[in-house]
Symmetry: C2
């Protein structure tokens, strides 16, 4: 992607009403556009990051047998009334609207009921279980406040998976598989070292649910960590969890954290409420065991920004960066233009994603933009590097650059930087 | 994809309330799930088709410099009031909702105003033009009736592109480029032979807009074709167009057709209404010329079903089929299972998408499902074919099958069937 052709531009200042660091940086760098509080459009650079995160999540969900589908945003009232979750006093984030004949509809903030309603058609016998489905959905939630940038939006992208099982034991086994898949996801997203499986409030159905929490100053949650035992507890269930787990509060370290995923063992209650059952091998009818597993894709993107940004801008982990290389051309004479164009073409052909700063702009402005945008590696080509037959290589996380022979760089790029 | 693991099942009957052939077949084959009138979820097979259509459209939009982004569904009233299009009397398909403080919001049915509002931040000078952006969006439209299955939904996926230009001439040139790109898209979707660029109502801004209309019995439009001159006119502008184009009504053939794309030359009015301008090379402020270009992705999928289906089920063109090969294993003994598994693995490794019917079911049921699902090529492996060292190959569009040596089939698959 050539920056001269990209329609977004970097900005020195974020909008004054934007208080969250993640949104400030994403707006300044041209990754998102603020439509209103809690509602953002994703411009080409931002969309690339989103798609990279989705790709990683998709691969791991497919690897544990998840089947991708896409449910609807519009939801009929009837599907949610039966579990009482249509009621605004019980679920306080509904956006609701109406058909022309005044039939009330909801805009989906989650899909448990919708999935169960659909599965009624497909799950008849124990032979149809287990089944695991997931989607990347644009969820709408009528949040009272929306001041955390893309970390808590009124419109956001979520991966939600639902697994249905014949028995509680089968559900438990799959639930553990998902926990392992989630760990692989956060590792690949660059968040693995600081992400914990935390005990959290189970809501209506279970004592505890599991949250994936990333230690992060901008997070809205407070986490108590037992680093030796690798135990993490959300503040909201601290007293119960300490008792249950037989640990002492004195051994716990309090940190701020952001929820990056959560999983709920819903059990058979939803199935019983909705009267959706399967015929067991015993010929009798049984309720279906359900679990749901969420990852806020846009939220994770915001957490990554908050967690790794430095005073110069964003710092993207390899797996999610909008490009692997930010190629800066200094000067505009024929020789340097040709050399930079040539390198851009060769890297593209090798399958390396490159942001190519081919604009006529001062070196300082170009370097500042490269830091703000935050790709893992910056390559500079100038008359000086050409004279030496090298490219200047600077990693975003390092202060110093080094010179590498152009041939070596091209030849060994993957080996050096993968 | 193994059918034994796919959670959807084929059905003999569609829901009684579903009158559109496309939805009947898609539901029966397990490609979509009906949530309510005009609202469908896309299950794994349907999602594959959608993604194939999107891939083709994306490649062609990128090839003409389109930059992909994703706008928001939630829309602030202010953005649309300025052009009067917030008014339900002017735009009668809005779904509207409210924030908790009673602020009214709209759910996007289109994005012209939203794009212009965003571009205000990025287009300052003539150097920032032209620019072309597009998205695949889940549009919501409060249709009074929704009886055409996925051909006219209350919730549907649309590719909408918007191009902004400094002059009317520059817009015109790009507009022609998009027409050519659209032709390539319909060719690749298998609709090229029967898709026409038709003159249609221009709405507020121009005399005519251009629609892409596919001849199709299930279509809601009536088209007048001048086959010799390759001219097509929507019934709604017949009288004006005949006059303008200097053709005789007697030479026109009336056909039913479905709109599969439309493009609007909006001109500078939207920019003037919204007071969004750029600084020209003359140092003065000028309005921006805008055009918009839509393709209903889900609608196109519906049209493809309607157009090619036969009495046995759906018939997918190569480019959009959920899989290239539908592999049927007849019998379940060790030898035939091993051979079918082996072929499935080899094809998957060669990058060929395969639906593998590895279920224990009668041959008749398997063949009926293969016809209903509609992949381009059916391959059958049985003890009989194994004894002969062949596979049975049947194209969905042909009545007869033929035997091909297994080695030949594997070796030459791409050559034979691409």
């Amino acid at each position: 992607m050539r920056l001269s052709q990209l329609f977004t531009k970097t900005r020195k200042e974020a909008p004054k009403d934007e208080t969250a660091l993640n949104a400030q940086l994403l707006i300044r760098a041209g990754f998102v556009h603020k439509v209103m509080a809690g509602v953002y459009a994703y411009t080409p650079l931002g969309l690339r990051v989103l798609e990279n995160i989705k790709r990683i999540v998709r691969e791991e969900m497919n690897a544990i047998g998840g089947q991708e589908l896409i449910m609807s945003s519009l939801q009929p009232k009837e599907t949610w009334e039966i579990t009482t979750r249509w009621d605004d006093d019980i679920v306080d984030v509904w956006f609701k609207t109406k058909l022309k004949d005044d039939t009330e509809l909801g805009l989906a903030w989650s899909h448990e009921e919708a999935i169960m309603e659909m599965m009624k058609q497909f799950v008849e016998s124990y032979k149809d279980l287990p089944v695991s489905v997931y989607q990347f959905q644009n969820k709408l939630r009528n949040e009272l406040r929306a001041k955390s940038g893309i970390m808590r939006g009124r419109e956001f992208v979520m991966k939600d998976m639902y697994s249905l099982h014949a028995t509680a034991e089968d559900l438990d086994a799959y639930y553990q598989k998902v926990i392992e898949a989630y760990k692989r996801i956060y590792d690949r997203l660059g968040l693995g070292d600081d992400t914990y499986v935390a005990f959290a409030s189970g809501g209506a159905f279970t004592k505890f649910s599991h949250e994936f929490q990333t230690v992060c100053e901008a997070g809205e949650d407070v986490l108590y960590l037992h680093r030796d035992k690798n135990i993490a507890v959300n503040e909201e269930v601290l007293d119960e969890a300490v008792k249950e787990l037989g640990i002492s509060k004195d051994d716990l370290e309090m940190v701020k954290s952001a929820e990056v995923g959560n999983i709920f063992n819903i059990g058979s209650e939803k199935s019983e409420q909705m009267n959706i059952r399967f015929t067991g091998s015993d010929g009798k009818e049984h309720p279906i065991y359900l679990a749901s597993y969420g990852i806020g894709i846009t939220r994770v993107m915001g957490v990554i920004v908050e967690k790794f940004a430095d005073e110069h801008g964003m710092v993207w982990p390899e797996g999610v960066a909008p490009a692997q290389i930010h190629l800066v051309r200094l000067g505009a004479d024929e020789e340097v233009t040709k050399a930079a164009d040539d390198l851009y073409t060769k890297l593209a052909k090798a399958g390396v994603e490159v942001l190519y700063d081919d604009r006529d702009a001062p070196a300082g402005a170009k370097f500042a933009d490269a830091d703000l945008i935050g790709c893992p590696v910056r390559i500079t080509i100038s008359n000086r590097t050409l004279a030496e037959g090298v490219v200047e290589v600077k990693r975003r996380t390092e202060a110093d650059s080094k010179h590498v022979k152009t041939g070596e760089f091209l030849k060994h790029y993957h080996g050096q930087h993968a």
